[in-house]
C-alpha cells in the first residue's frame, strides 16, 4: 500500500473511531490502537504513539466546551494531574522495557474492564456535603450546575483517588489511551464527585496526562508523522462532529456497536498476547 492510500484509509477509520468514541462517551483511543494493529498491520509501538497524540487533540477540543459549562473542577484536576503525569513518565519509561505481548494482554484486560463498566447502569450516588480532611486542606469542594441551580458537593478519599490516578497515568503512556474509564472510576466511585463533574474533569486531565506520555514517546521514536497525521486529523474531526450531533443521535445501538468492537478486539488482543508469551 502507498503512503497516500494508507493515510486515506487510516484517516477514514480514525474518523469513525473518533465519532463513535465521542457519541458513546467512551473515548476513541481504546479502539484506535486495535484498529491500527489488526486492520492496518501497524506495529504496536507506532500505534500507541499515534493514538496518544490523537487523544491530546480530542481531549483539548472537548475540554474547551466542558470547562465553559462550569462542571470541571479545576483544583481536583490539577491536584490529580501530579499523579497522572508522574505515572505517564513512569509508563513512558516502561514502554521500552515491557514486551509488547505483555502490553497486549494488559490492553485486552483493560478493554474487558471497559465493557464491564459500560454495561453497568449509571446510578448517580448521593452528593456528600460533609468535608473530608484532605479535601478541606486542598479546598476541593465546589459547586456544579443542576436544573435547580448550582449545588454544593464535597470530595472524599483524596489519597485513594491519587494512587489510582498514578496507575491511570502509567496505562495512558503504555497503551496510548486516555484511560478515562479509570479516571472516572477514581473520581466518581472513590472520591464521590458528581458523575458529570467526574467525566468532564477526567476529560480535562486526559490531555495533560497524554502530553506527558507523548513527550516521552516522541523521544523514543514511537511517533511517526506519516502515520500520526491521519490518525490525529481523523479522530479530531470525528470527535468534533460527534459532539455536534450528540443530542440527535441514537446512542443505544452505537453503544452496542462499540461494545461489539471492544469484545472482538479484547479477544484478539488477549489471544495474541497470551499465545506469544506461552
Amino acid at each position: 500500500m502507498t503512503i497516500l492510500a494508507l493515510a486515506t484509509f487510516v484517516g477514514i477509520g480514525s474518523f469513525a473511531a473518533g465519532l463513535l468514541g465521542s457519541l458513546t462517551g467512551l473515548g476513541g483511543g481504546i479502539i484506535v490502537v486495535p484498529m491500527l494493529i489488526y486492520v492496518f498491520h501497524v506495529d504496536f509501538r507506532y500505534a500507541v504513539g499515534a493514538s496518544l497524540v490523537s487523544i491530546i487533540a480530542t481531549s483539548s477540543g472537548a475540554a474547551a466546551a466542558y470547562v465553559r459549562e462550569g462542571y470541571t473542577n479545576v483544583r481536583v484536576g490539577i491536584l490529580l494531574e501530579v499523579a497522572t503525569t508522574a505515572g505517564a513518565l513512569v509508563g513512558g519509561a516502561l514502554t521500552g522495557i515491557i514486551d509488547p505481548s505483555i502490553l497486549k494482554i494488559l490492553f485486552g484486560l483493560l478493554m474487558v474492564f471497559t465493557i464491564y463498566r459500560s454495561l453497568q447502569p449509571r446510578a448517580e450516588h448521593e452528593i456528600l456535603s460533609t468535608p473530608d480532611k484532605w479535601a478541606a486542606r486542598f479546598r476541593l469542594d465546589s459547586t456544579y450546575p443542576t436544573p435547580e441551580g448550582r449545588q454544593h458537593y464535597s470530595v472524599r478519599n483524596v489519597p485513594g483517588g491519587f494512587v489510582l490516578m498514578f496507575f491511570a497515568g502509567i496505562l495512558s503512556a503504555l497503551l496510548g489511551i486516555g484511560s478515562g474509564i479509570i479516571k472516572v472510576l477514581a473520581m466518581d466511585q472513590l472520591m464521590r464527585l458528581p458523575f458529570k463533574v467526574s467525566t468532564t474533569t477526567s476529560n480535562f486531565m486526559i490531555g495533560v496526562t497524554a502530553a506527558a506520555g507523548a513527550g516521552v514517546l516522541l523521544h523514543l521514536g514511537y511517533i511517526d508523522p506519516t502515520l500520526a497525521f491521519p490518525v490525529m486529523l481523523g479522530v479530531l474531526a470525528g470527535a468534533l462532529i460527534g459532539a455536534r450531533v450528540l443530542t440527535r443521535a441514537n446512542v443505544k445501538w452505537l453503544r452496542q456497536l462499540f461494545t461489539l468492537i471492544l469484545v472482538v478486539s479484547a479477544a484478539r488482543m488477549l489471544y495474541d498476547g497470551i499465545t506469544a508469551v506461552l
Partner: protein
Amino acid sequence: MTQPDARWSDHAVEQIIGRLLQIGVLLAAAVVIVGAALLLVNHGGNPAAYGDFRGEPSELRTVAGIVRGAAALHAPAIVQLGLVLLIATPIARVGFTLVAFILQRDRTYVWITTLVMILLLFGLVFGRGAA
C-alpha cells in the same frame, strides 16, 4: 496584604482556559495539515511500511531537531512540529493555570501546578520518562 484580583476568579480562568485549548488545537491541526499536504505531494506514492518497528530518525525525536527540519521545509518535520504544538497545548494550559493561581495568591496551588509543569516539561524536553 493585597486582595486577590477579582478578574481572576475561578470562573474567568475557566473561560480563558477553554479558549486557549481551542486555539492550541486549531493551530496544531493547521500546521499538521500543511505538513501532511506537502508530505503526500512529495512522498504519497512511496510504499508505507509500519509492520516492523524501526523507530523514528533522531532528527524527528527532539524538539530542536524538529524545529530545524520544519524551518528547512522538510515535510515530515512540519507534521511533527504540529504534533509538538499539540503536545504543548495542555502544557500551555497548565502554565496559564499557574499564572492564575499566582494572581489569586493561592500558594498551595501555585506549588502543585509548578510540580505538574516540571513533570510535563521533563517528559517533552528530556523524554527519558522516570528512568
